[in-house]
Amino acid sequence: MRELKIFAVVVFFSLLTYWLVEPYAHHQMHMKVDKDGKEIVIKSHGFTYDGTDDIAEAERKGDAALVTKKKAFWADVKTVAALKGNAAAGETVFANCIGCHNGANINMGGVIPPNLDHSGAIYDKNYLIALIKDPAMAGNVDHKYADTSLHPMGSIKFTVSDNQQIADVVAYMQEKKAGEVTPKEAFTEACVRCHAVRYTKTTQLGDTPKFKHKKDELAHEIKVIEEQDLVKAYMGNLPPDLSMMIRARGEHFMETFIENPQGQLAGTSMPRVGLNQEGYEKVKEYLTEAGDPSKKAREQLGPWVIGFFVFFTILAFLWKKSMWRDLH
């Protein structure tokens, strides 16, 4: 039928235009290439960490010494991961951590050391091992520090250095610092030391309390600004507010960026935070609640509205049929 042919032509050109300006153009725009012009495919690897990305990056830079260093480091991590950790022994080692990770909300060398209450649940095991061995290497931000001991957590090297000790403390965290974790807890522990979320009234100091007096409110605001200044001095720029980030970046970007920030944004001062799959899901849930709270309502209402119009269209078709029946 002629009318259907015309419809097919219209649909074809509309879809072609859509494909060109959306999937194709966006792929071209965000494509990363190495120095030979070959595309670098950035894939998520399920929030596990074995240094593959870091080694590949070093290889692309053509820095042989760096490649060797990265390979040696992640091989070490693998060795520790194979050791059997003793949680009871780990508890003693963990006492070293609490010196800084104490919930006092005091900035130490750039950021407030995060709470570790759910560290065994939201972070990957390999990453935790890597972090204790060398925080700068684990975060893939070693280019920022001439010496790892300059990293805010750099002193860990002098307190926990024995491989068995590392295995023990990680085993302890996985056993005792795990359990049920809410999206808010996961987000606070993993992200809030740098990022604010104004839509949930969260700052680098955590939840903003309610104040009776304007004076107290302003005093808190000043404390927030002071903390932000410290973070800014350390990071080079104030990390962005994450209120709308879930709408501003695609799923693929979020996943791969959180797994390895350098891959998507070479040179960024954001370190890898080492979330595992569960940790990421919780963080994503929190950001969705902040920046896209209508997602659930949208998905629920959608079929009803579309169903209504399908029904409407069927009725309209029958009306048209009856109107045009005796015209030809």
């Binding site: 419809f7 219209v10 235009t17 060109l20 300006v21 153009a25 501003a248 970046r249 709270p293 045009w324």
Partner: protein, 409 residues
Amino acid sequence: MAHFEKANSLNEWMDQRIGLNTLKRVLNTEYWIPKDINFLWAMGMVLAATFGILVISGIFLLMYYKPDTNLAFDSVNYTIMAEVGYGWLWRHIHGIGASLVFLIIYIHMFTGIYYGSYKRGRELIWLSGMGLFVAFSAEAFSGYMLPWGQMSYWAGMVITNLFSGGSLEAYGLVEWIRGDYVPGDAYLTRFFMLHVFLIPLVIIGLIVLHFGTLRLPHVNNQEGAEIDFEEAADLWKAGKRKESKVIPFSPVFLSKDVFVMGVYFILFFYLVFYNFNFAMDPVNFDPADGLKTPAHIYPEWYFLWSYEILRPFSKDVGLIAFGIAQAALFFLPFIDRSPNVAPAHKRGLFKYWFWALIVIMIALTALGKLPPTDPLFATLGLIFAVAFLFMGPILFVITMFEKKIEKGA
């Protein structure tokens, strides 16, 4: 004062005072539409419906939107999207509507070009329609500023910069338009006024004019046939519905319009609920920051073809080419010298010209978004931009030599 009888019904009462029955007859039951049409003839009513949806959703959004550079972003993304009941729905409808209205405008325009619906007698339909296209473009651009995201800010920066006129360096004019050296509060509030008041007023006026210009020449038909509307109308009124070449707007033509609208709304709401990023660019969910230029600045898809005519040339040549491209389509009825009102497939070379135009416009649209840093895309952009500029003169020449089609053959 004229003499008034006591009315026996509300209908009669209204009829006495504003001629309700005459209005119904003139606008509906005896407004004749040719019978030989396809679904593309429903695009006008689809556009009218989409405009209605944009107005209604716009009114709801207007109740909570705050035109202030400090508040705009959060009033849209927090107040409307998170706090107001169904605010997200109205915003998604408004965003999708703004994008789809251009898809339908383009289909409507290309339908007019394909069937020669701008030719002698119908020039004003085309001209008022082009006026609407320009007004809708201004409406879309001004509306895009309002969420005050990164793309709002930087697109505003780029487009207002065009008014510096290249080497004329008329920065005074640019500042006058912005009300500031860079887009700021004065800029946002004036574009807010344009978006919610002045341009909608112009659009409504132009829609009335557009409908008015249709009245005497009547709607075209699939074969471009000349119809004696009075004779055909008499046949219809005499009950000879098969023999008559026309149908009344209401209810016969309308029944088809409503069916097409139904199909359109299924697509519309599928996009509203499940696939909206093409109309609501993620980049614009980052708040405006004058110190952070996004890696890629591009307009919405419906402006890409004209953006790509600006981009591949040097500054001044680009601006001139861009100017020509904006105005060129207005002159279509006068460039086309052919005496024929007929669909493109019956018009010899014009058929190839039409499909070439479609290909060029789509190629320009794609290239307008693809990064010009890639030499292949840059070269293709230049080729298609030049090709577009040649389409006018080519049309003039090929239609001069177009053979007259004998009607009734």
